[in-house]
Symmetry: C2
Subunit: 210 residues, 2 copies
Amino acid sequence: MARTPLRSDLLEQITGRVLDGRLPAGTRVNEVHLAKELGVSRTPLREALIGLADRGLLVSAPGRGFLVPPFDPGEARRLYPLLAELEALALRWTSPVELAGLPDALDAVSDEMARALTGGGDLSTLDERWHALLLSRCPNPHLLRLIEQTKPLLKRYESAYFARDGHAGESIGEHRRIAAALRDGDLATASAVLVANWVKALAYLGEDRR
Amino acid sequence: MARTPLRSDLLEQITGRVLDGRLPAGTRVNEVHLAKELGVSRTPLREALIGLADRGLLVSAPGRGFLVPPFDPGEARRLYPLLAELEALALRWTSPVELAGLPDALDAVSDEMARALTGGGDLSTLDERWHALLLSRCPNPHLLRLIEQTKPLLKRYESAYFARDGHAGESIGEHRRIAAALRDGDLATASAVLVANWVKALAYLGEDRR
DNA sequence: TAGATAGCTACTGTATGCAATACTGCGTCC
DNA sequence: GGACGCAGTATTGCATACAGTAGCTATCTA
C-alpha cells in the first residue's frame, strides 16, 4: 500500500484548487467530476473533503455535499489578528536558546526577498519560508498544528485580493526589525512587530480588493 | 437522507469512547469491529476517524489504521497553557458590551457548582458550562473552533488523571474572581486569573497522576 | 403569465467488494 | 534457547454499488 494515503495528496491538491480559484468561492464541489478529474475514486476524495471541512476551507451542507465558502471581508478581518496572536504566542514559547540561532537565518531569507522584490522572484513563497522558519523552534506541536490549519484560510483571501507585492517592501523591513529584536532578546518587541506585520497585511487586503 | 450525517454522530460517540477509556490510550482502532459494534458501515466510521485524527484525538498510522495516542505528560503540560491562552484571547476579543451580561450568568453556574460540590452533582459538566458561557459572546468563530478542537485533547488527560473534584473548590473561587473582574471591566485581571485557573488545573494533574 | 406540481435526473450518503499490506503463529536454523 | 523465515489470516485503503433526496424542467392551473 502507499505509505502516504491518497487522502493526504488529495487534500493538498484540493487546497491548491481552492486557493487559486479553480474551485471558486461559493460553488459546490461535485464529487464525481472532481474524482474523475483527479483520477481517484470518491472514497479518498471524500476523506480529503472532510478534512478540509474540519479546517474550515470547505463547509459541509448536509444533503448537498461540500461547498467552497463565499468570501467574507469580516472573516478576513478576524483571521489576520488570530494568526498574528497565534504566531506571537509560538514565538513567546520558543526558548531563548533556540531563538538564538534564528535571526541570521531569518535575515538570510529577508535578503532573498529583497532580491526577489527587484528580480521578480516569488515573494509569497519566501514570506512563507520566513514565517515557517520563525516558528520552526516552537516546542508546542499543537499550537503549530492550529497555525498550519488556519493559514490556508487566510491565504485564500491573500490569493484572491492581494496586489501581489504591494507591501512587500514594508514587510521585509518589519521582518528585519523582528530579527533584530530577537538578537537583543527583546521578545516583547519582536512579537509586537510580528502582530503589526500581520495587521498591516490586513490593511492592504482591505485597500486592494478588486 | 438524514439531515445530520452519520459521521457527526459517530465522531461524538468515538470521542466519548476515547475520553472515558473504552478506547484505551496506545491501542489501535479496529474498524470492522467498531463499525459492527456501532451498527454502521466502515465508510462513515472512517470519515469520523479521519476527523478525529485531524483534531489530534487519534493518530493515523499509514497502513495500520488509526490508534489512540499514548498519554504523554509533556503533551498535557503543553495543552493546558495553550487552552489558557486561547480562552484568554477569546475573552479579550469579546466586546465590553457583550461581556456586561455575563458575570451574573457565570456566577449562577458557580453557585450550582458550589451546591454540586457538597451535593455530589456533576462538577465537570458544570465547569464546561461555565467556560462555554464565558466564550459564548466571542465574535471570532475561527478562534472558537480552535478551542473546541483542542478541548477534547485536554479532557482526555483530565478524565484519565484527575482526582475528580480535587481542586473544584479553588476553581469556583477563581471563577468568581473572574466574574468580578469582568464586572469591573478589568479584562486584564480576568484573563490573568483565567490563565492561572488553567495552569493550576495542570498542577493538580501532575500531582494526581496514577 | 406567474405559480404550483409532478416527474426525472443528478448527486450525495452509506454499504459492500476487492486487492495489497501488515500481523500472527509456527516451524526451522543457528 | 533465540532469531529468522514463511504461510495463513486479519485488516487497512481504495473502488464500486446501491438507495434516497435535492434540484431542475416541463407541464398544468388559475
